[in-house]
């Protein structure tokens, strides 16, 4: 027990949180419009477009079907190109973001699809433009569902970040691997697992709380 370096664990936790939150934000910046695009270009929707829907749908499926660990390796040259290195916490943000964009896009898509066709008809009847329909009707109506989805996505990204830690990504994943696996310090391994579980619990509870608070139906 004496060999546990708490400062390192706290540093790892901070790194993990930083990677997770920044990646989630970046992935949402792309994934949200991506998801919107998947919905509005769908058959019978406001900007129906078979070609675009097919291209982006296929892209999402391909990206999503690559196991994250493989994606990490495949993306290494690309990561090096933009961050200047393929290891460390900053470098991990690149594959984390790219890997979760399709997950977020599909999650956003399913949330937006819950918005009834009637709401969109009402919006069109008022003379709303497509942009107004998306920003003033669809996204706000899907708000609670989008927040719940975000909590689930945060947990997924957190898990991925731990995985990334195993191949030079830093954070809790790296600590678990270095101490728990290479040095047989099971106690350190246990502590990182507990911290990860706690973080996921916090995200999930917070997400659900907020979603319930903003939901009115």
């Amino acid at each position: 027990m004496s060999n546990i370096i708490w400062s390192e664990i706290w540093q790892g936790t901070a790194d993990t949180l930083r990677m997770t939150l920044i990646s989630t934000l970046l992935a949402y910046a792309v994934g949200l419009p991506f998801g919107v695009l998947l919905v509005v270009t769908d058959k019978g929707h406001i900007l129906e477009n078979k070609t675009i829907n097919f291209i982006f749908g296929t892209l999402a499926n391909i990206l999503r079907s690559i196991p994250f660990l493989i994606l990490l390796v495949v993306l290494m040259p690309f990561t090096r190109l933009i961050v200047g290195s393929s290891i460390g916490t900053t470098a991990t943000i690149v594959p984390l973001t790219i890997g979760t964009i399709p997950i977020i896009a599909r999650m956003v898509e399913s949330s937006l699809k819950e918005v009834s066709a009637g709401i969109i008809e009402a919006a069109r009847s008022m003379g709303a433009s497509s942009w107004e329909i998306i920003t003033l009707f669809m996204v706000p109506e899907a708000g609670p569902s989008l927040i719940l989805g975000a909590a689930i996505n945060l947990a997924t990204i957190l898990g991925y970040s731990a995985m990334a830690g195993c191949i030079g990504g830093g954070g809790l994943g790296a600590i678990a691997l270095n101490y728990g696996y290479y040095r047989y310090q099971t106690d350190v391994l246990m502590i990182t697992v507990i911290i990860l579980i706690l973080l996921i619990q916090i995200f999930q509870t917070l997400g659900t709380r907020i979603a319930l608070k903003v939901r009115h139906s």
């Binding site: 009834s116 009637g118 709401i119 008809e121 009402a122 069109r124 009847s125 008022m126 003379g127 709303a128 433009s129 107004e132 003033l136 009707f137 706000p140 109506e141 708000g143 609670p144 903003v214 939901r215 009115h216 139906s217």
Partner: protein
């Protein structure tokens, strides 16, 4: 032409709309031409699937049409640019069976929404929305969410929202079909009040004839996408010319509900058009001719102060007796329509 433009808020000419193609094609609207007069309450009635919703949706071009033209206030909706169409929609309010309110916004925010889209300055939206909500009697529920309201209240919010931009016409697609009879009556009363106080044209789509009966001035009957009858409510209700109209207007006395093959005598439908009343005529028939008929079904009522309706009667199967009875009824001004059984 200019007079027509003034009197008619809508002019529909040869409007057709097909859904799907090939074997599965459905002609939802089939060559419909009609005019809707400014200031009237116009009903469109038909069975479920007749094409009513599709027709009303062409009136604000939620649905595009394949053939013909829909002219609103002199504007051909089919040829308008996107921008002009969106502008025109500020003048066309619509309410739906399911209200279609934003569930995540307060009712005040719901009513402010069309004002925002119409480009009304932010400072004026709130006041206008409150005014609209007080017209529908919900000024004390401004911060409630739709989920906290009853169906009737939600439809009131929808009405306030539809009228916020001062449209010239209000389209109602089965607006009362999800409501109980009492609430339906209240909503219809509100619509009637808005129609007379604001001089607003109202188009009401319904499958319920009591809705047409209680507030419409004119009515169009559609069946399988075709316009089968159109005219003043009183006129159509007293003298429905088509089987569709009769079945729709007087479902209780429809031949469909009676298996006439069960009866030994000859069955006939007699129609009262308001010039004679139904009760004495059957008595008089017996007194004058000495023959009796049995009433299999009757649906007579008073609409707009005049009595009308129809009955299905069974007449003894005897050529001479039948002729006398039909003769008496025809002379009394009652149309007789023999129902053939298809045994």
């Amino acid at each position: 032409m200019s007079l027509e433009k003034e009197n008619n808020i809508y002019t529909l000419r040869n409007v057709s709309k097909v859904f799907g193609s090939g074997d599965t094609a459905v002609k939802a609207i089939d060559d419909v031409s009609l005019d809707i007069h400014r200031g009237e309450i116009f009903g469109i009635i038909g069975m479920s699937g007749a094409g009513k919703s599709t027709l009303v949706r062409t009136l604000n071009r939620l649905e595009s049409i394949d053939e013909g033209s829909v002219i609103f206030n002199g504007l051909n909706l089919g040829t308008l640019s996107n921008k002009k169409l969106r502008e025109a929609r500020h003048s066309i309010g619509i309410i739906f069976q399911n209200y279609n309110l934003l569930m995540q916004k307060t009712i005040l925010a719901n009513v402010m929404m069309p004002l925002r889209i119409a480009g009304v300055p932010k400072s004026e939206r709130r006041e206008k929305a409150i005014k609209m909500l007080s017209i529908v009697g919900l000024e004390d529920r401004l911060n409630a969410y739709p989920a906290q309201l009853s169906g009737g209240q939600r439809q009131r919010v929808a009405i306030a929202r539809a009228l916020a931009t001062d449209p010239e016409v209000l389209l109602c697609d089965e607006a009362t079909s999800a409501l109980d009879p009492k609430t339906t009556g209240e909503i219809l009363k509100l619509l009637k009040k808005i129609n007379s106080e604001m001089k607003l044209t109202i188009v009401i789509i319904t499958h319920e004839m009591k809705v047409v009966e209680s507030i419409c001035d004119r009515v169009a009957i559609i069946n399988y996408g075709k316009l089968v009858e159109i005219g003043d409510v009183k006129e159509i209700f007293t003298r429905p010319k088509t089987e569709t109209a009769r079945n729709l207007l007087m479902p209780g006395a429809g031949a469909n509900d009676i298996d006439i093959s069960e009866y030994k005598g000859r069955c006939a439908r007699i129609v009262f058009d308001g010039t004679v009343s139904s009760e004495p005529i059957i008595c008089n028939l017996t007194r004058k001719t000495g023959h009796t008929v049995s009433i299999l079904s009757a649906n007579t009522k008073s609409i707009g102060g005049i009595g009308f309706g129809q009955m299905i009667i069974e007449i003894p199967d005897d050529e001479k007796v039948y002729a006398e009875i039909v003769g008496f009824l025809t002379e009394a001004g009652v149309a007789v329509d023999e129902l053939k059984s298809y045994r």
